[in-house]
């Protein structure tokens, strides 16, 4: 009972965060709205029982991605034209398109009915089976992710190098 109420609460919160992202002017505030959405999603994952994913959500998304984002916002001068005029020329078409998109998606996705057989369980997301499966059956993707991360590091270094040259 309370779980359902909390679920509804956090769902509403994430949606509210999303809407605030569209509306707020200062990028810092937008970042904070996004953090709120992400935390609500983490709560939803926790309510679903997939605590692993919830933790990952907070650690990676909020802890790494959003921190990086906040750093960058703080470094830059945000008071330019994009601050004065929040919205681009595509405001009206964008809003209409987005609304129609949401409606069509809903019609497509939700009409399937409650076809899900089992109630959400915790079985697939238990940590031990998950780790075992990840490193045994899906080890290729694990290695590939490490490659991806190396690429990211290299790219970051390349960017730094250019900035260094420019400054020097």
């Amino acid at each position: 009972m309370i779980e359902t109420a909390l679920l509804y609460l956090f769902c509403a919160a994430s949606l509210a965060g999303g809407v605030l992202m569209l509306v707020l002017r200062h990028p810092m505030r937008v970042a904070l709205a996004l953090i709120a959405t992400m935390l609500s999603l983490a709560a939803i994952y926790a309510l679903l029982g997939v605590h692993v994913i919830a933790v990952f959500q907070v650690l990676i998304y909020v802890g790494a991605v959003m921190v990086f984002m906040v750093y960058v916002i703080m470094l830059l001068d945000v008071r330019d034209r994009s601050f004065v005029e929040r919205y681009s020329g595509m405001l009206v078409p964008g809003v209409i398109g987005g609304a129609v998109f949401a409606v069509v998606l809903a019609l497509l996705g939700l009409s399937g009915g409650a076809a899900a057989p089992g109630a959400p369980g915790t079985a697939p997301f238990a940590l031990q089976p998950f780790a075992a499966a990840f490193l045994n059956d899906y080890w290729l993707y694990f290695e590939l992710t490490s490659v991806l991360l190396v690429i990211a590091v290299v790219a970051a270094l390349a960017v730094i190098k250019e900035r260094g040259d420019k400054l020097g």
Partner: protein, 630 residues
């Protein structure tokens, strides 16, 4: 290769050889001697072959020699061959063409010696000879028509020989275009004949017309159509305008093409197709009428001309008119007889004029000549003989042929009348008058030349004077050959009305007196320094002006035909049809593509969010489709 084909093809070989090797483009590597040998030698060989054929023909008693060169095409049951046909009429024509042609080739070697385009000239002359021989030797109207068009082409090339001068080039164009107008009539006549008979062989068609049940096709219509073609080629009214302008070409060309051979092609055509005209009294009357009108009209103009070649050109028009009058009254053999004598004396006159022009270094205005008789005696004597022949000096060639024409114009059963005779007699008087006027003003009397030209005057080289001599002799004695009787098996003799037979001798005396009157008149007006003519000139100034300007016919054609056509071309076809419709459509399509592209290019704004929005719309469309169908 048969002998007839050889006669036709030899000049073509000359054209090809000289055309490829001797023109300025090819830098004439083989020299004038080679060109002369090829160009003059081949026509002489053709003439020799023609003589041989003629002898063979007489030996065979006059039956025609027929030779098929090759089959051109066979289409759905009808067969068109290139065949040659040699009977008495053809013999006369071929001998004239090759004989006089060869003489004029020899003359040209002297006349065109200094010209830079010596090789090209002879190439064209040989080409002309090839087409003319094809014309006279052809068995079917198709082969004749090929020759017809070909001589028109050769005429254009030779009239505009000095094409760097725009006026001369324009004269060439005028000749060709006027001929083409006549050819339209000719083609229609040919179509009718083919439709009626299924063949274009002239001997077959003639036989069909002469046979007792007359054929279904209207002889008058065909006759008129063929005559339209003939009047284009033989320069009768109203298609006569090109012949005086054709004097822009070299003088030997005028002699060959516009006196002796090409312009007589129309006369030959009508004579050959006499079967049609025997059944078409309306067409024959038309021919006689137009012939008489042209003869008189041209003679009046010739009286007032001052360019030596123009006088001779109008004289040619007039004499052609005589030939057509003969054809119109059914005296076909007589017309050919006059064609034959005319070839001699007119060629001699033109070549003599060429000799005068050569002597004076290029001048052609008779008002600034005079007193040349002593300076260039050979030219004078030959010119005088030829003038006497054309005017009708008794027993010279012109006398016989012209007298016969006048007789049949008066007395023929097929259209002879007093009115026709009167017109032709007056024309003969004018002929005598203007020819002797020409003789006096050019050769006799006091000299009106300027000093430098006078100093320059010299007799022409042997290549030119020898030819003049030969032609003068032929003009004098050529008439003794009774051609109409020789041609009788092919061209039936005209019949004179019985009641008028008694008048034959008196009319001959009239003809002689006409000649004498003309001579006397010319002597009176133009002897000495032309004092009498000069005194009388002011009282006839208006008439003189009209005659000198050829009755302003060219200006009339320009105003009535030329300008509206140019207007239609420029306004209707160029301005509206071409620029507005065609270019407009194309440009409009291009503009449409351009503006369409412009509209589509609005998508490329460089605005990233716009592109994303378009992706959104696209995926929306896919989802919507999935919603409906999946």
């Amino acid at each position: 290769m048969g002998i007839l084909t050889l006669i036709v093809v030899l000049p073509l070989a000359g054209f090809v050889v000289n055309g490829l090797l001797a023109t300025r483009v090819a830098a004439n590597p083989l020299g004038k001697g080679f060109v002369t040998t090829v160009a003059c030698g081949l026509p002489i060989v053709s003439f020799a072959l023609a003589v041989k054929c003629f002898v063979d023909l007489l030996a065979a008693g006059g039956t025609a020699i027929v030779e098929t060169a090759f089959v051109w095409t066979q289409v759905a049951g009808s067969r068109f061959d290139i065949a040659f046909y040699f009977d008495r009429l053809t013999a006369v024509m071929v001998l004239i063409v090759t004989g006089v042609g060869s003489l004029i080739h020899v003359y040209s070697t002297g006349y065109m010696k200094e010209d830079a385009s010596y090789g090209r000239y002879f190439a064209y002359l040989n080409l002309f000879l090839f087409f003319m021989l094809m014309l006279v030797l052809g068995r079917s109207l198709l082969v004749l028509f090929v020759g017809w068009e070909g001589v028109g082409l050769a005429s254009y090339l030779l009239i505009g020989f000095w094409f760097e001068d725009a006026d001369k080039a324009a004269a060439g164009k005028k000749a060709f275009i006027t001929n083409r107008i006549g050819d339209a009539g000719f083609l229609l006549g040919m179509f009718l004949l083919y439709f009626a008979f299924g063949t274009l062989d002239m001997d077959v068609i003639n036989a069909a017309f002469l046979a007792t049940p007359a054929p279904a096709v209207s002889a008058s219509v065909v006759g008129v159509l063929l005559f339209i073609g003939a009047s284009g080629k033989s320069a009768q009214i109203p298609l006569h305008v090109w012949l005086p302008d054709a004097m822009a070409g070299p003088t030997p060309v005028s002699a060959l093409i516009h006196a002796a051979t090409m312009v007589t092609a129309g006369v030959y055509l009508v004579a050959r197709m006499h079967g049609i005209y025997l059944h078409a009294p309306e067409a024959s009357a038309l021919i006689a009428g137009i012939g008489a009108a042209t003869a008189f009209f041209a003679a009046t103009i010739a009286v007032a001309q001052t360019d030596i070649k123009k006088v001779l050109a109008y004289s040619t028009l007039s004499q052609l008119g005589f030939m057509f009058v003969a054809l119109g009254v059914g005296a076909y053999g007589v017309a050919i007889f006059h064609l034959y004598t005319h070839a001699f004396f007119k060629a001699c006159l033109f070549l003599g004029a060429g000799s005068v022009i050569h002597a004076l270094g290029g001048k052609q205005d008779i008002m600034h000549m005079g007193g040349l008789a002593r300076r260039i005696p050979v030219t004078f004597v030959t010119f005088a003989i030829a003038t006497a022949a054309i005017a009708g000096f008794p027993y010279m060639s012109g006398f016989f042929s012209k007298d016969e024409i006048l007789w049949f114009a008066f007395a023929s059963e097929r259209g002879g009348s007093t009115a026709l005779y009167a017109v032709m007699a007056v024309t003969a008087l004018l002929t005598s008058f203007y020819m002797f006027r020409l003789l006096w003003l050019t050769f006799l009397g006091t000299s009106r030349m300027d000093h430098e030209t006078e100093h320059h005057v010299h007799e022409s080289p042997l290549s030119m004077t020898s030819v003049l001599a030969v032609l003068a002799v032929l003009s004098a004695v050529g008439g003794f050959l009774a051609l109409p009787h020789f041609l009788e098996p092919v061209l039936p003799l005209a019949k004179a009305r019985e009641s008028l037979h008694a008048l034959e001798k008196p009319l001959m005396y009239v003809a002689i007196s006409v000649f004498a009157l003309g001579l006397a008149g010319a002597w009176l007006f133009y002897r000495g320094n032309g004092a009498l003519a000069a005194r009388m000139a002011p009282s006839f100034a208006g008439l003189n002006k009209i005659l000198f300007n050829k009755y302003y016919i060219d200006e009339l054609y320009d105003r009535v035909l030329g300008r509206p056509l140019v207007w239609i071309s420029e306004r209707a076809f160029l301005g509206f049809g071409d620029r507005f419709l065609i270019d407009g459509t194309l440009n409009g399509l291009a503009r449409l593509a351009h503006s369409g592209a412009g509209v589509l290019a609005r998508v490329q704004t460089g605005n990233l969010q716009m592109y994303l929005w378009l992706v959104l719309i696209g995926s929306l469309a896919c989802l919507a489709w999935g919603l409906r169908y999946v």
